[in-house]
Structure formats: structure tokens, C-alpha cells
Symmetry: D3
Subunit: 275 residues, 6 copies
Amino acid sequence: MTYLPRTHRLADLTWPEIDELRPHAPVAIVPLGATEQHGLGMAQRTDTARAEAVADMVARRMSPQVVVTPTIPVGMSEHHMAFPGTLTLSPVTLQQIVVELVTSLHRHGWRRIFVLTGHGGNNAAVDVAVSRLRAEFTDTHIAWSGVTPVVSDLVKQNSDSPVRGHSCEIETSQALYVDPELVLPDRLVRGSATLDDLDPAGRLARSHPGIQFPQGYDALSRTGNLGDPRLATAELGALLVDAVVDRVCDFLTGLIGLPDRSPAPPPAHIALETS
Amino acid sequence: MTYLPRTHRLADLTWPEIDELRPHAPVAIVPLGATEQHGLGMAQRTDTARAEAVADMVARRMSPQVVVTPTIPVGMSEHHMAFPGTLTLSPVTLQQIVVELVTSLHRHGWRRIFVLTGHGGNNAAVDVAVSRLRAEFTDTHIAWSGVTPVVSDLVKQNSDSPVRGHSCEIETSQALYVDPELVLPDRLVRGSATLDDLDPAGRLARSHPGIQFPQGYDALSRTGNLGDPRLATAELGALLVDAVVDRVCDFLTGLIGLPDRSPAPPPAHIALETS
Amino acid sequence: MTYLPRTHRLADLTWPEIDELRPHAPVAIVPLGATEQHGLGMAQRTDTARAEAVADMVARRMSPQVVVTPTIPVGMSEHHMAFPGTLTLSPVTLQQIVVELVTSLHRHGWRRIFVLTGHGGNNAAVDVAVSRLRAEFTDTHIAWSGVTPVVSDLVKQNSDSPVRGHSCEIETSQALYVDPELVLPDRLVRGSATLDDLDPAGRLARSHPGIQFPQGYDALSRTGNLGDPRLATAELGALLVDAVVDRVCDFLTGLIGLPDRSPAPPPAHIALETS
Amino acid sequence: MTYLPRTHRLADLTWPEIDELRPHAPVAIVPLGATEQHGLGMAQRTDTARAEAVADMVARRMSPQVVVTPTIPVGMSEHHMAFPGTLTLSPVTLQQIVVELVTSLHRHGWRRIFVLTGHGGNNAAVDVAVSRLRAEFTDTHIAWSGVTPVVSDLVKQNSDSPVRGHSCEIETSQALYVDPELVLPDRLVRGSATLDDLDPAGRLARSHPGIQFPQGYDALSRTGNLGDPRLATAELGALLVDAVVDRVCDFLTGLIGLPDRSPAPPPAHIALETS
Amino acid sequence: MTYLPRTHRLADLTWPEIDELRPHAPVAIVPLGATEQHGLGMAQRTDTARAEAVADMVARRMSPQVVVTPTIPVGMSEHHMAFPGTLTLSPVTLQQIVVELVTSLHRHGWRRIFVLTGHGGNNAAVDVAVSRLRAEFTDTHIAWSGVTPVVSDLVKQNSDSPVRGHSCEIETSQALYVDPELVLPDRLVRGSATLDDLDPAGRLARSHPGIQFPQGYDALSRTGNLGDPRLATAELGALLVDAVVDRVCDFLTGLIGLPDRSPAPPPAHIALETS
Amino acid sequence: MTYLPRTHRLADLTWPEIDELRPHAPVAIVPLGATEQHGLGMAQRTDTARAEAVADMVARRMSPQVVVTPTIPVGMSEHHMAFPGTLTLSPVTLQQIVVELVTSLHRHGWRRIFVLTGHGGNNAAVDVAVSRLRAEFTDTHIAWSGVTPVVSDLVKQNSDSPVRGHSCEIETSQALYVDPELVLPDRLVRGSATLDDLDPAGRLARSHPGIQFPQGYDALSRTGNLGDPRLATAELGALLVDAVVDRVCDFLTGLIGLPDRSPAPPPAHIALETS
């Protein structure tokens, strides 16, 4: 395939370019970010930057098969609002944004769509949106993921902090790799990294797997971060992010290979055959 | 403590009894179920029954510290609608139900609330609802869980099916333990239990951990179930459900022991101290 | 007709059983309840129990022609929230529940649907929901009622209390018949049973037929009930409930006998013919 | 009381006049109408006109104690949409209008509010709105009624049609009294006036008191009206409307005489005293 | 064309009359008003009256080509709520009213619709509603305007007040022309008519064209009006309103002359031809 | 004032930096963009880029008095959806985004907020949002503008096209100045630049000032643009954009100089003094 678009970003293209690209690009990625505190030494746009970087790397690797919409730079960050500067959308509004962006893509003919959120706080809203979209667009394959959860096996192998997640060494490493300007290395401090660093509610929340007891980050950490970002390295970030890109590309290749989605025939009377 | 209420179920009590019980019962559980197909041999109310049974067992064990609201018998089951008889609520309506039930409890003075869903399809809506409630009621501890995810370690030790989850041996065992009338043992059939049993989209969905690619159950399984429920036993159900009850009781005991929730003081100017 | 389903309750059946039952069962009943105070001597689930009992009795009598969805155990009970333990949904959420349950039934092929509310506080929300559903599903017959209003003639013949309605001898009699465990007979007390028992607003509300001046029950009655439930008997309950069942069965038989609903042809130009 | 405002209609006054009138006028009436077909010989604005006329007559009789907002000239008329020209609002929008008008009045200090609907199709939406408003404004007395239901006893004494209601002799008589221009007497025709005039669904709907089985008016009547409006007289209209005015004035006088509404004290521990 | 309807107002007609008129009347006008303070000497219904008057004059001039719905007598008037008696709808509710009225008209066959608002505060809600309607009804031409903005050139020629707009000489002149009862001439006072009459925020708002800095009218003017209504004359009102009518008629004549609206063919591949 | 923040962009800062900056930065700007077709030779992100550039230039000029939130990169672009690649939000969702971003800023202490939209299609939604926010946050000054409307006088002086607006020489000049990569100069073509270039509906829409008759851009222009962008120059762009920046800075300086906003005292009884 010798055709190469000027870029995979829908926002950077003209409409005739998109018109030409469309038949070559079966997949559209919708990246979601956040503007929320990331501790003492990392910029508020970290989640936006990580989602956008992964989307761009995937699209470049698979060019011209993937287009990317602009990254939504705010998300569901209520649990960070005690820190100055965090911006938050309600979950209903975030759902609606995802639904309407995907609906726009669907109207232009896309039938394989991937929502990629750099911020775990967006998960529930995305999940609900995808559920609604699957029911409405029965001809469309739609999938979603976060960034870090795609490599949770590698995370376990590369971090020893009993408590980690937000603005820890794992996330900070990714930031150092995708955009070093996100990080002020000499401001990084160890956050709440062990159960003992947490207040009683935080300890309770972290010691019962399978039970969700969400806490505001002001309760979890005086500095707004978990783990120990001083241990972060760009090398670890590369290892993690490149693996995310590999795996998402692998998934999208599978997605492209699927037959078009169509409603299954009604399963009635199967019972009689099987019993 | 010698006071014992007639029952822990709010629906079975009179208002003067609830008035008397209230100071003794700091925790309220809100159970959520579903009415959805559970394969050829299990009743549609299975998720409702499991959530209600766990809530009742927890409340009896901790009596009089826990009250239980009526179980909502329908949930988010869009992905089962291709099978005759499944009922489904939209995610927005389910969110709203949880928000309004918890708001009612809050108006009557409860400040420690646990939402327990027997149906995984409800998770995202519950997550969003809890997030909204945390932001609105800053004086209330609120947590939630499913049933099976609380014992995912035990599930791994007791099931070999590479593909399982809905109406598999794990869920059917629970049903046999909490209410044997849920199961028609001679109708149980092996469902989609290995990747090879799935269609290409189902295989893709199940082979990329961390990536969510939700599928209608009509695409996943001709019979509507996964795994092999013929392997289910009431003994395994007892092992799993009793462990869920143990762990939820342990969590709730911790929850009761927490100080009252109150908004944290603003963290401003911490930076200066730490850098 | 010799075919008999295991039960008429959708929640208790498997999907193949529902698939088999569906062509024999043209009518679906959606029962609605409430969790609200019922005075000093009756359980909060009284309305749920009455709606469910009537639905079950109707379905058994007409078997296999009627299926029943799970009873929604909470309703619109804002006017009882001053008493400990009452749970309430907003009218918009309750509307939405009815709309979505009926929509689910419609997707599975039901075209004759009956919503039965055990709680009068749900009426307006049900009325609105039914109105929306009629407009949307022009191929579906949809009707609704309460329990007691179906036998208002018999109520007048069997009660002398000038003020009655909630948790009075009429409702308590029904409870004693459908489920004696709902009632704690030695706790029953006379409530506000005459205009003199009411406060001025309550008196005003009850003395202008046709004008609605809704009052919180805390204003209407110190004990939360009207009338005199000490006069209740299971015999009166049987007389009332059996008559409700007779009349609903009679209506549903008529409903089954109707031709399928279809949009009427446009009435344009009728004027010319008639004038 | 010698003060007399120029008019009781808020829309016709200037703000300084309203400022002066406010302390003399404890009651505000919110009239609601409809724009919907009224058979072959009556204008679509009939319900608007009847509500407005009653509100004006009440306010003049009780001057200066009552102010009146502008009549909302459209309502919930989905069941008439098969006839050319009917306009309809959704029930949610109509609820919202009532809520927002009453909220505006509340912000200006009114604490006794009466919603008067000339159109029965608005009832459920008004009921829901009033329920929401009672819960939100705990310092406000709020009541509502239709026009004809206030004199249902007189209706029974003055009409023999077994089937009546919409655009029948009762409604047409009112129209002839409040505004003769509403009626084109030589176009009036007998509508569906007996059960035999109805189609099977209409007959079923009208023969089970207490069961609601709403029908589109296109199904109920080829001409869009019930009863026999040729029997209407302005004298009967005067008898009915004057009685409505009497009774509403009587109610509002009672409403003005009530103490200010305030939330009742919590009823907790009453049980102990009474049992 | 010799056919003449009894009136152009849908609310005043019967359905058979509308049925007959419909093919002769391709255009429907939806007038919107407000109930809001208009200074010391003008009635709250001024915007309603001006919109209705223009709609009626247009419809009479173009008879039988134009029908008119009832004027909605309340609008978005939050910025006037500091004055006693103003009523306001939320913008979402107002949008919904416009959407639902136009939808009703569309269901009856109208495909050329004009929304005419007498109140500038309604503009944004109308704009949003029209945008939604255009997207939904792709076969319908829909346009909207205010009253005064249609003759902004004439306004400039006939007013010297540096600050004007609400209840100024321009609006008062229109009121004197369309309905002299709207005005109490001896109560009229000069309002805020120059930048010096405004508070600092008002001055800032009025001195940066293109920047919107909305102010409550209580901040803009102690009396609730701008400009100097004592300069108003019925002659100026006639000049302005007659010009509005001329121009709207001219536009509607153009609208009737347009071909039916239909979705344009997709513009794809135009690029290749043009580049 | 010698304090200088690292940057004015909230997304690029850490929370302690924002905490430090906050008391120095009384104004927050919320930029809004769009992803929509801009003719054959300009990128879809043009509106996003122009809004962001102006916000950044203003903030740098006034540093440290102004902070800037991330630009929302999609807007209300329904009227461009016939061209491949345009993304659109519903007006309700866009309103909600603005409301929630401003609410977040308000929670962090900002009381002077400026919403700047690069896309005219967003205007109505922004207007509604600002109206809601003014009513809710009575202690906050909130203003908004587009980019080009701030210099409409200069536009008139520098363009001769009778029809212009979208992707014309004015907008393209701005793009050349703020980010030359937005433009593919050799793809630029003359769009619909005179009334004769428009279809009949477009001509009608453009020939009645004050009447809004919105048209899809597919109807207005085969290429999706108006005017003649081949006439664009970076010099003209500099003239226009620099003037926008000057004027917005001037306005914001005025805004900072205003006293804190507070609700005005009620104006009651002013009438007596003045008449």
C-alpha cells in the first residue's frame, strides 16, 4: 500500500484529505485525557499527554489504517478537586462527549472505533458510553482501554511500591518518555507508598481486593501522589509505553481482521436442539 | 449488646422499629440484582438472589449493626437482550436509582453505606453513582463491590475453564448454595468454555487483558452461558459465598471503626514545606 | 390448552422456558411497590406485597396467558420521608423505570401490557410513563391501575371512617389476607380517622373534592396512618383482594380479545362528510 | 381594605405595581391550557380559555388577595395528535414549566400557590410537578385542580350521556358561558356518547372503573368529541363555572387562613408513647 | 385565491378548519414572549404583545399562507428577576418548548416554520433549538428572528440614546403602536441612557463591541429600563413595526418560493475536481 | 510585580505552582475550538488554534494576571457534518462543558472568568451557559466573546467579499498568522463569495439582516468555504489578531479593576421615590 496521508490526526487534515484517507483507515481512535493534579513535580496535563502519545504512536505504526480525533483534555477528576487547579467534568457529561464523538465518526462511515483514556477516573463513564453505543450502533465494533492497565503484568514486574497508581514511579516513567517537559524532576517526592502512609480509610480501601472504597486524593496523600516517582526513569517509561503500543496495535490488527459487525440472528428454539 | 431487631430488612420493619434500630445499625447495604438470561438451566433472578443472600448473611452475622434495603431486581442487561425474557435498565436510570436510594438513607441518618451488586453489568453505573454520591455527601463513607470479584483468588483456585464468568460453574455453584431452586440441574450444558468456542470477536475480546471489547452474549455463546456449569457443586458455592460474607463483614467492621468522614482541610502550601 | 409453564414469573424462569411460554402468554404485568412507613403496626413493604400478590393471583388464575415481571420494591414516597426508613425515588426516575421495563417487554414481543401499582403515590409517574409509551409503541395495548381503586365501590360499603386511605382498615385488611406477617396486630392504633383528627391544612385538603392539596403524612397523622386499622380483618381483605383479582382478570380477558393495536387512519376530511 | 390594584394579572402590571400589590395578595394562581382539537365545532383554545376565565373570575371576586400568571396555552395533548392542528408538549417539559413558574413566584415571595389546569391531559404532569415543589419549598402551600372535576357532582346531575368528557355538552356549555366565540353552534355534532359508539378498546376502557386504559381520541371518536355538545347551553355553563369559582374561592380563603407552612418536627419516638 | 380562513390563529380554529387551511398555508409562525419587568411605566407582557402583534399582522397581510401558534407568554428572563413579578424559564426548558411546538407542526405537515421572539433574552435558547431542529428535520426550512433586530438600521436613525435597548424609546414606541394599554405614559422615566448612568460593570459591558458581559438589569438601571421612554411616540412605533412586518413578509414570501428542503448529496470527491 | 509563573497554562503547571500563582491571577480564560471542515486548504483545527493563540497571547501580555484552561477541541458543528471528518457536540453537551469548567474554576477561587470561542457555531451554547452561570454564581464576573467579532470594524475595512465568514480571507489570514501549518496555500480556492454563488436558500438567508436562516455549509458552498481565501495574508492576520488581543486585554484590565461582584440590593419601593 503506497498511499500515505499527510498525518493521521483528523484535526490537522482538510476535508478532502479525510475523504481520500477514509477508505484506507478503518479504525478511529478517540483519546481522552484529564487536567488534574499530579503531585508536586508533574504537570496537570500528564494523562492527556500519555493518551495522545500512545494514540499517535499506534497510528503512525499502522499508517494509514488508523485516524485519531483530538484528545479531550479534561475528564472526571472530582477526587482531585481538593488540590488547586484540577478541572472536572461530571460523569454524565463525559459519557455524552464520548457518545457524540463516536456518533460523529459513525456518521462519516467509521465502523471500528477505539476509545483510549489516559486517566483511570474516566473508566466508568467510558464503560457506560461504550455500552450505550454498542446498543445503538449494531454495525460497529467498539472497544476501549486505559494506558497502564494494558501492561499491568509489566507494572508488577517493575515496581515494588505496595501502594502506587497515581503519579507514582510507573506513571512518571511514562511521562519522562513521552514528554520530558511534563516532569520537574527535582520537585518529585515520595508519596503514599505503603499502607502505613495512608490514613485509616485509605488503608481499609487498599486492603480489601474486589471492594471499591474510593477516596479523595487529599485523604490518600498530602502531596497528591502515590508511590515514589523519584524512582522513575525514561527507560522504564519506554518499556511500558512501547509495550502498550505493541499490544494495542496487535488488538487493532485483530479488529480490522474481524468481519463487519452485524446483529446476531435471534437464538430462539436453540433450547429444543440442545436439551 | 442485648438489643436484637426483629429483622435487618428495612422493608419488613415498621417505622418505630427502624427508629429504634437506627442508632444500633451504622451500616446500610443496598443490594442490586438483575433479571437476565442465565443459560439453559438457571433462573433469570440468579444475580438478584445472590446479592440478596450475601446481604442477608452479612447482616445476620453482624446484627444489629447492618440494615438492608430491598434488592433492586433489574439492572443493566443490554448485552443479554437477544435472549427472550431479559429486562434491562439504561445505565443512567440505574445510576439514578442508586443515587436516590442512598440519598434516602442519608436523609434518615445513615453515614456508612455499602452497595452490593450481584451483576457485573451494573458495575459502571454503580461506580458513577458512588462517585457522584461521594462528591455530594462529604460526610458519608460509601463503598461498593460485586459478589464474585471479592473472591477472585478462590475462583482461580477452583475453576479450570479458560473462558468463564456468566452462568459458569462458579456462578452456578453459588446459586446451588444460596437457593437450589434457581437451578434446573438436568438442563445445564457446557457453554463457551475455551477460546475455540468463541467467535472471532469473542476470541479477540478475551485475548487482550486490559482492553475492553464488550460482546453481546448471543455472540459469545449459543446457549447464553460460559464455562461448564455441569461442574458446579453446592460445596464450592458454600466455599465461595461464605468467603465473600467473611470478607465483606471484615470490611464493614473496618468501616464502622473509621472516624466519621469529613472533608479534609485544604492542602495548600504543602509544597513549600516539602520542597 | 394443556401446556402449563413452571411459573408465570419471568425472573424464576430460564430463557428457553420463556421462549416456549411467550406465544401462550399475550399479557405481561409489571407490578410496582414501595418501601414506606405504614404506621405503627405494618411493614414498610406492604404496597410491594399487595401488588405482587394480586399480580400472582391474576397470573395463576389465567395461566398460561399472563407473565409477571419482578416487582419494583421502591416508589415515589416523598410524602412519607419524615418517618424513619422510608425510601423514595424521584418521579422522573420512576417514570423511566416503567418506560424501560415496558420497552424490554416490547423488544421481546409483548404487545399487551398491564402496570399494577400497589402504591397510590406512584400514580402520576405511571400515568406519564404510560402516556409516553402509548405514543412510542403504536402497536401495543397498555393499561394500568392501582389495587384498591379497582374496588372503590366495595371500599365505601365496608368502611365508615370519614378519613381513610393509608394504612387504614381497608389496606390493613388486604395485608392480613395476602401476607399476615406484614402486620403486628397488637401495635395497630387508630390514626387520623375524622376531619377533627387532622390539622387545619389536612382538613382543608379533605373537604374540597376535586382540589388536590397534598400533605406530608407527618402533618396528617402523628402515627403515620389514617382510619382505624384495628378494625381490619382477613375476611374483609379476602373480599376486597379477590374482587380486585376478578376484575383485573375480566379486564385482561377483554384485552386479550381485542384486535392488535394499530394506528388509526388519519381522520382528515371527516368534517366535510359530517357537516 | 380600600386598596385596589389596576388588575390581578401579573403580565398586565408594572413591577412597581406588583411590588405594591404583593403584600396584599398572598395567593398566586398559575393557569394551564392546551391547544388541541375540540371536535367539529369548538376552537382549539377551549381549555386555555376556560382555565383563564376561572382564574380571572376567582381573582376578581377575591381582589386584591389573588394574582394570576399568564396562562400557558399548550399542554400534554399527545392523544389528540391524529387530528390536524393539535400542539403537544412532552410531560417532562410541562412539569418543568410548572416547576419554573412556581419557582419564580417563590423567589418573589409567594408562599400560597394554586395551579389550575383547564385540560385533564395535564393532570399527571402537574401532579408530579407539585410533588417535586412540595419537597423543595417546605415553606409553601401548593395545591392544584382541574376545572370540571371541582363540580363532578353537578356534572352528574346535568348530563345523561353514558360516555362524555371531551368536547361534550358539559365542556361546550362552559365554553358558551366563558367565551361564546369558542363555539360554532351549527357545526356541533353528537360524538361518541354511548358505549356502543366506541370501538372495542374504547368500550373496554370505559367499562372497568379504576383501570386506566388510555385511548387516542382518533380511536374513541371519528369527530374527536364525546357526548352530545348539541345539548350544551350557556345557562348550564354558568351553573357549572360559577360553582367552580365559588368552590375555588372557598378553598383559597381556607388556604389564606392557614398558618404558614413549615416542616413538621420529626415524629421519632412517638411509638414509645403510643404502644 | 378566493379561499379565506376564518382566522390564521391555530388556537381559534377547529380541526376541520385547520385541515382545510393546511394546504393553503405553507408557513407557520411560532411567537415567543416574556413576562418581565419593563420599567416603571410599561406592562410585563410587552414582549409577548409585540411578538403576537407582528405575527398577526404578517399573517393577515399574507392570508391564507401563514398560520400562527399561540404565543408562549414566558421566556428566559433571569436577568430581570431582581424586580418583583418577573417570571423566568430555564434556557433548557425554553429550548424544549420550541423544539416540541415545531415538532408538533412538523407532524401535521408544516415544512416552513418561522420562530419570532419578542424578547432578546430568548435568542440563545431559540438559536440552539433551531439548530437541533434543522439537524433532525432535514426536510424543513426553519428560520427565526427577533422583532427590533429586523429594523436595526431604522432604530439607529430614530434614537439618539447612547445606551438603549430594554424599555427605551424604541420599545415603548412599538408598545404604544401595537397596544396602548401596555403603557402608563405618566409613569415613564428616563432610565440609564448614557454610559455615565451605568455602574462600572455596565460601562465596561457597553464599551467593548463584540465582547458579551451580561449584567442583571438591577445593576444596569435602578428603574429597570434603559434609554428615555418619554421620547416614545406611536408614530415611531408604527414606522418600526410596519417595517418589521414588511421585511418579515418579504422574507416569508422568499421562503415559500424556495424548493422543498432536502439533504444535499454528499460532497465527496469535489476536491479532485477542483484541485 | 516581579513574580513570574513558569507558564499561564493550567494544564502545564503543577498544583503547588497553581496554588502560588492563584492570588496573582484574578482572571481565567476558557478557550473553545472546533474540529470542522475549513474548505479545501485549511485544517479542521483552525478554530481551536485561533482561540488558543489569542488566549495565550493575552495571558502572556498580562502575565501573571491571567491563567488559561486547556482548549476544548470540539464544538457545535452540526452544520458542517455533510463534509467528511467534522466532529460535533450537541449544544446541551457543549453548554454543560462550559458550565462544569467554570464551576471547577470557581471552586478553586476564580471570580473573573472569560470564555473565548474560536468558533461562531458555539455562540448560542456559550451564551446559555454564561446565563446559567451568572445566575448560579452571583459573586463572579463572567464574560465571553468570539475572536473575529471583536474586530468586526477592521474586518469591514479589510474585506470586499459580499459573502464571507467561514474559511474566507479573514479567517485564513488569521490562520496564516497564528500557525502557518494550518494552511495549504496551493489548495485554497474561492468559495461562495457573492450572493450569486449561493443557492436560493443561501441568498435568502444572506439578504435579510436580522433574520436568522441557518444553512448547512454543504448548501452554501460546494467547497465548504465562503469568500476568497486566496486573498489572505499573514500581515492582515497579524493586524486582526493583534487588535483582538489588544481589545481583550483592555477589557480584562477593566474587568480586574471592577469591584467584586455581589448581588444588588432589592430595588423595591424605588417607584415611590421616582413617580
